[in-house]
Symmetry: C2
Subunit: 137 residues, 2 copies
Amino acid sequence: MRQFLDARRVGHLATADATGAPHVVPVCYAIAGATLYVSIDEKPKRASARPLKRLANIRQNPAVAVTIDRYDEDWRRLGWVMLRGTADILADGDEHDRAQALLRARYPQYAAMRIEALPVIALRIGKATSWGDLTPG
Amino acid sequence: MRQFLDARRVGHLATADATGAPHVVPVCYAIAGATLYVSIDEKPKRASARPLKRLANIRQNPAVAVTIDRYDEDWRRLGWVMLRGTADILADGDEHDRAQALLRARYPQYAAMRIEALPVIALRIGKATSWGDLTPG
């Protein structure tokens, strides 16, 4: 399962607001121990704008799910891993900085971006489930 | 937005249970009018098994989100569309049969599968939001 997670490049983060209405967006991620880190690399379009919905939802309801999967037109190769648990928002500090270093190591695209001041979502993995073909590649 | 949705092949369906705990899985989909249909092509592994979590969640809480996105290592090409609304589970009937015909037309893989008796999730789209590059292809 871990090899599959390391080999994939994009995950999907699902959150829900206080009323249970779901929200799901593609995310970049890195894993260390039993925590999956998700970068926030978008700022609201205007400084006065509301915070990102995914962050507002986590503040209301910390239960989250992240699914990492492979789609292939050969459906024998379909596979997914879903990680569920509770999320912390890391605004700064040692763990925040280590998480950003892991994300930068996995995604060279971040080299051109200033993400240091942006928060990181830390999913404390409580449960991992999977389906299908999890061979990496 | 519609051209982007038609060009993509996989979406991610997020549901949440009565406590607001999210769940997200990759899904095949087809769109007609203001409804997005998601096929159920897996049976529980055993006849005695619990129903699929996505269906159990919708029965508890019909609010759902489906996101269709493009990942590309050239991040200028990233883009997503999120459709939110409430879901019906169609067990049979005219709309169920039309939805399965649309899904079969989009996915030739279904030709080898017996999906007629399986339910279809119908997302009544209430809100569509998007981000990034939505050029098809």
